[in-house]
């Protein structure tokens, strides 16, 4: 049994898996950053009450929210002149932005309307009120659902395997093809599971920490 496990600890196998982890991290990072920016924009648009902007955002959000991620990843792979890892990241970003958009809208809705009236009466413009008064307060409400969504992003990177990107899960399946005894099977999947678990738990802690850090806002 130890010999079987030793195979998996060989340097080239470890490096092989580490490459997969890096791809997972890279896709996660870019998806989280860009979907947060785009999603905030969408959420503010939908919340704004401006007829054209709001309906544009609504159409975007509803159509992306109703489609399976795999479909988007495949669609973008075959209709865009991009490398699979990039078309995959783009698909994930646009998909996640729709969900972030709804989270942002929910957060904005939770801020009391009186805040608007007070700020506007003090001469703040609409945008100033949004930026300095409403968004910061909404952000704190948004942290728990956002954390959940970003954890989902890390997990969903494994879908990009469908267009041939060898991220963490993909690499694991390849190694499995080479070293397939039952013991090795459990070692490989145990390791992959543990890595995802640590990543997700880390994000979760980060979210809790941010939430506590920002708690002064609503005290």
């Amino acid at each position: 049994m130890m010999e079987e496990l030793a195979v998996l600890a060989q340097w080239h196998n470890v490096r092989f898996m580490a490459e997969g982890l890096l791809i997972t991290l890279r896709i996660s990072f870019f998806t989280i950053v860009f979907s947060f920016i785009l999603g905030t924009l969408l959420g503010v648009m939908r919340y704004s009450g401006h007829r054209l902007l709001a309906s544009l955002a609504a159409v975007y959000i509803e159509s992306f929210r109703a489609s399976p991620l795999i479909l988007l990843i495949l669609l973008f792979r075959f209709t865009m002149p991009l490398k699979p890892v990039n078309s995959g990241t783009l698909a994930m970003t646009l998909f996640t932005a729709a969900i972030v958009g709804e989270i942002v809208r929910g957060g904005l809705n939770s801020v009391d309307k009186g805040q608007w009236e007070a700020a506007r009466s003090q001469g703040f413009t609409w945008w100033q009120t949004m930026r300095h008064i409403v968004l910061p307060q909404a952000l704190r409400k948004m942290i728990p659902p956002l954390t959940g969504q970003f954890i989902t992003v890390v997990k969903d990177t494994s879908y990009v395997w469908v267009v041939g990107v060898q991220e963490l899960t993909g690499k694991g399946v390849i190694i499995l093809g080479q070293h397939g005894s039952t013991v090795q099977f459990f070692a490989i999947f145990g390791m992959i599971g543990l890595i995802y678990y640590i990543l997700c738990l880390g994000l979760n802690r980060l979210g809790l920490w941010q939430e506590r850090r920002m708690s002064w806002l609503t005290m």
Partner: protein, 229 residues
């Protein structure tokens, strides 16, 4: 837009039964997985609020392990694991197990939040009247929690239907798989993917709207307090 040329659409509509088969597979898999998720969710959700420490621990373990690892990894795990023990299940069955266990963890959280939204006094009153814990749950708490739990549960159903496309990754013959293999053989990706998207939209959008309306009603009937997320 030669990616969406008319003759490609014609080819798709000639082969429409392929998509229909896929839709049937998606519906049956998602339906069975939903039942499994509900069963697991109610069981572990009740355990999560039970007075027994070990019950709560088991429930936490289940939710934590499942929610923090990807569905793809879990389904691959089952897909490659079972043959090690000489268990040969058809891929849709692997899909039902994977999806059911995965969404069961989310349903657990929904059920837990629903139970916790019911005032503690209800349970105490029921117990004081001689109900056992299980009876109190069954006749007093769960029926009330059901109302609160309905909207987030519907959202879980939507997520499950979308996630059933995971079957495409293990050749499970679902809608996504059928469209993908059809377009791989013809090269007509545009029409196939667009049609599949329209089908998913037609199923998921109304359900999501329904959930939203229910959520609104529950919030109003409970005096504005937001419960089960």
């Amino acid at each position: 837009m030669d990616r969406f040329a008319a003759f490609k659409w014609q080819a798709l509509f000639r082969d429409w039964h392929i998509l229909l088969e896929g839709l049937g597979r998606t519906a049956s898999t998602a339906g069975l997985a939903l039942l499994l998720a509900l069963a697991l969710g109610v069981l572990f959700g009740v355990l999560a609020t039970a007075p027994w420490r070990s019950g709560r621990a088991v429930s936490r373990l289940y939710v934590n392990l499942i929610q923090n690892t990807p569905l793809v990894t879990q389904v691959f795990f089952l897909y490659y694991l079972l043959p090690h023990f000489d268990i040969m299940l058809p891929t849709p069955v692997v899909g039902v197990l994977g999806l059911g266990v995965y969404h069961g963890a989310y349903v657990t959280e929904v059920v837990r939040a629903g139970i916790q939204a019911i005032h503690r006094g209800q349970l105490e009153a029921a117990l004081s009247q001689g109900f056992s814990y299980v009876q109190a749950m069954r006749y007093v708490i769960l029926p009330q929690a059901a109302q609160i739990v309905l909207p987030p549960m519907t959202n879980q159903a939507v997520a499950l239907i979308k996630n059933s496309s995971i079957l495409a990754m293990i050749s499970g013959g679902d809608l996504m798989f059928q469209a993908d293999s059809w377009s791989a053989s013809t090269g007509y990706y545009g029409p196939a993917y667009l049609t599949v998207w329209a089908i998913y939209f037609a199923i998921c959008f109304p359900l999501a709207q329904l959930a939203r309306r229910w959520e609104e009603r529950v919030r109003l009937s409970r005096g504005g307090e937001v419960t089960a997320a």
